[in-house]
Amino acid sequence: MAIGWYLTVSALIFSIGAAGVLVRRNPLVILLCLELMLNGANLALVAFSRMWGGEDGQIFALIVMVVAAAEVTVGLGLVVAIYRLRMPIDVDQLSELQG
């Protein structure tokens, strides 16, 4: 298949992830949608790497995976901590950092 198809799929995955971030209220699910966006970006990177013939895109994609893993770790740690403090797991109610 032409590379363009892969890029289209990547764009769709990315925007579905964006929609998920905007729509969902559970922070866990928001993080999942964030993963979706990262994956979309990974697909685009790998597609371009295939297009150009060099493996730089794949390296970039691997690093993105590392970053995603780290971010998920910390984010989930936060969610656990919030849960432990008996605060609601709802992004709309965790809004004290305001003003």
Partner: protein
């Protein structure tokens, strides 16, 4: 040691005295600060004598010496140097100032004993003497202005010395504010002179005044009138005179030194020093003469009704300085300065004797409560009498020779100045009356209880110390007078000081007997060599006629006072009733205080309040600070609304903006 070195040492001694006393403020035991101060001024006097002797060793043409310690700055054409001018006029002045100051310091050591502010007093007093010496030794306008300002500051510090008395602090502020008006005049005059002469040093300015200015033209008249404003403020002449009677709130030796002998004569010195300028601007000189004449009459009339003994002497000071100002404005420089010297002697003596009487009265100063101290205070009585006779112009005391010298010169200049001469004689009559009014009321008549106690050997003591002017109760702690009072009969320093001054008041006039020795005139000749009035020979005969008339008027004044106050006792009360309106007018000191209050003080206070309440509160706090903070607050409140705390809102914002940026790039690259 040269004359100029002696001049610098004259300045150094009181400065070192001030610093040493002030730095060791807590350390000096007992009265040692007083002795240190007196020693410093005595040394200064010794150096003045050395300067005098050295100056005489030069030939008369070369007796104007300048010495510069360092250049501050020579830029933009202003030659600012720390420079003194040692010439006959300044040596004359430093002799008088340091000599009289030494005696007053000696007197003060006793007078201020056990006052909690003793050390502070002597550091201030030394500072004052330093400032006055700096003023008279100045060799250029800048040092003169510095000395002028320092003297004003010292006067303020010493008038409000007993700072917990509201009357004293108010008087200090009043004196300082009026002096500031004079300072402004002096500074602006310096600007004008510098603008035309391009230098601020005295000798070059005086030598080139004929080239730089048009005779009687606007710049020189303006400069001289502004100098006159400075002189009038410092010398307490009408209309800037209202501070001097209030300045009597300070301790009596301060009144003797500053407000009789030295500071108030600074105006006379100024006009004498600037005689080259004043002669080139006759309009200003005439204004000065008229002001001096008016002052001597006004002050003389007011002194007739004052009841506070120090204020009577203050008004008499004002009147005598009026003579001096009139004299130097007319061109009678040696006469005016000679009167300055003799006046320093007898006026300081009068103040010291008054201090002794006040001590006997345990702090009470009102003539109404005094009487019959002749037997209780014999030494003080004799001193007071000597001072009073000298002041009144009774022959052969010093005041007689000096005062009539001035009047004779006025008569000699003739024309309209004759009126000034006649006014001078009228003033002399008033002088005799009020002086002996004071003496008769204090020392004659029935002895008051304090006098009776003193005759039995017991000095009166007030149980509750009171403010002599308002009568309110006080303390004797810091900021108030000390608990002890002193009279001359019992304290040897006071006796020595008063005795020395009494002798000088008696024989001090002998150095300038017209036609015989003219000592002052000859000595001051080099300074005034360029004056067209100086070498006018007032012939001996008309001078002696004037002296005789003066003596007769003095005797007449004493006789009138005798008749009112001793021969027919109730005459004073009768006169007061007959001329009630005039009495009230004089009692309110010609309403000058009320006039100045109405014209100047009230508008100034109103302006201040208006600015504070309207401008400051509404404009500055409201619009500027409040407005600025309000604007910032409103702006930040608007921006703050973007921080809602909702994560998804932020995410939406980000996505929209990223989309917008991508759109921009899409469009711009296609």
């Amino acid at each position: 040691m040269s004359a100029t070195t002696a001049g610098w040492l004259v300045l150094l001694c009181p400065l070192v005295g001030t610093i040493v006393i002030a730095l060791g403020y807590r350390v000096w035991p007992g009265r040692s600060a007083g002795w240190i101060g007196t020693l410093a001024i005595a040394l200064s006097f010794v150096f003045s004598v050395i300067a005098f002797a050295k100056l005489l060793s030069f030939s008369p043409d070369h007796r104007q010496l300048t010495s510069t310690l360092w250049n501050y700055d020579v830029s933009a054409g202003v030659d600012a140097k720390l420079q003194i001018l040692v010439d006959p006029l300044s040596v004359f002045m430093i002799l008088v100032v340091s000599g009289v100051s030494t005696l007053i310091h000696l007197y003060s050591v006793t007078y201020m004993t056990r006052d909690r502010g003793f050390t502070r007093y002597f550091s201030y007093l030394n500072y004052f003497v330093f400032s006055m010496l700096l003023l008279v030794l100045a060799g250029n306008f800048l040092v003169l202005i510095v000395g002028w300002a320092f003297v004003g500051a010292a006067s303020y510090l010493l008038i409000s010395f007993w700072y917990r008395r509201t009357t004293a602090t108010r008087a200090g502020i009043k004196a300082f504010v009026i002096n500031t008006v004079g300072d402004v005049g002096l500074v602006i005059a310096t600007f004008i002179i510098f603008q035309h002469a391009h230098t601020v040093q005295f000798l070059p300015v005086f030598h080139s005044v004929h080239h730089d200015f048009v005779r009687n033209g606007t710049p020189i008249v303006a400069a001289c009138l502004l100098l006159l404003v400075g002189a009038l403020a410092k010398s307490a002449q009408v209309p800037l005179h209202t501070w001097l009677p209030d300045a009597m709130e300070g301790p009596t030796p301060v009144s003797a030194l500053i407000h009789a002998a030295t500071m108030v004569t600074a105006g006379v010195y100024l006009i004498a020093r600037m005689h080259a300028l004043f002669e080139w601007a006759p309009t200003a000189a005439d204004v000065g003469a008229i002001v001096g004449c008016l002052t001597l009459l006004i002050a003389g009339t007011v002194a007739l009704v004052m009841t506070d003994i120090k204020r009577v002497i203050a008004y008499s000071t004002m009147s005598q300085i009026g003579y001096m100002i009139m004299g130097v404005s007319l061109g009678a420089y040696s006469a005016g300065l000679f009167h300055l010297m003799t006046h320093a002697f007898f006026k300081a003596l009068l103040f010291m004797a008054a201090g002794s009487v006040i001590g006997a009265m345990a702090g009470e100063q009102s003539l109404d409560r005094m009487g019959g101290f002749r037997r209780a205070l014999p030494f003080t009585f004799i001193c007071f009498l000597v001072g009073g006779l000298a002041l009144g112009g009774f022959p052969p005391f010093s005041g007689w020779l000096s005062k009539d010298d001035i009047i004779a010169f006025a008569d000699h200049r003739g024309g309209a100045f004759l009126i000034l001469g006649i006014a001078g004689y009228a003033g002399a009559l008033l002088t005799g009356i009020y002086t002996f009014r004071m003496i008769f009321r204090t020392f004659f008549g029935d002895p008051v209880p304090e006098a009776v106690e003193l005759e039995h050997g017991h000095l009166a003591h007030a149980e509750v110390p009171r403010n002599p002017m308002t009568g309110e109760e006080e303390d004797t702690d810091v900021g108030f007078p000390g608990p002890d009072h002193f009279i001359a009969e019992r304290e040897w320093p006071m006796k020595i000081a008063m005795g020395a001054l009494a002798v000088l008041a008696l024989i001090g006039g002998l150095i300038q007997i017209p036609g015989v020795d003219d000592g002052v005139t000859k000595f001051l000749d080099p300074t005034f060599a360029d004056s067209k009035y100086y070498h006018v020979d007032v012939r001996a005969a008309p001078a002696w006629v004037g002296l005789v008339i003066g003596a007769l008027i003095a005797i007449a004044g004493i006789a009138i006072a005798y008749r009112i106050y001793i021969a027919r006792r109730g005459t004073a009360a009768q006169l007061r009733e007959r001329f009630a309106a005039a009495y009230t007018f004089l009692w309110h000191k010609w309403y000058f205080d009320e006039l100045i209050d109405f014209l100047i003080v009230r508008p100034a206070l109103w302006t201040g309040r208006f600015v504070q309440s309207v401008l400051e509160r509404n404009l500055i706090q409201g619009v500027f600070t409040g407005g600025t903070t309000g604007a910032v607050r409103a702006g930040s409140a608007a921006v703050r609304r973007a921080q809602t705390g909702f994560v998804r809102y932020y995410a939406a914002l980000m996505i929209v903006c990223i989309g917008g940026v991508a759109l921009y790039f899409l469009i711009s690259s296609s």
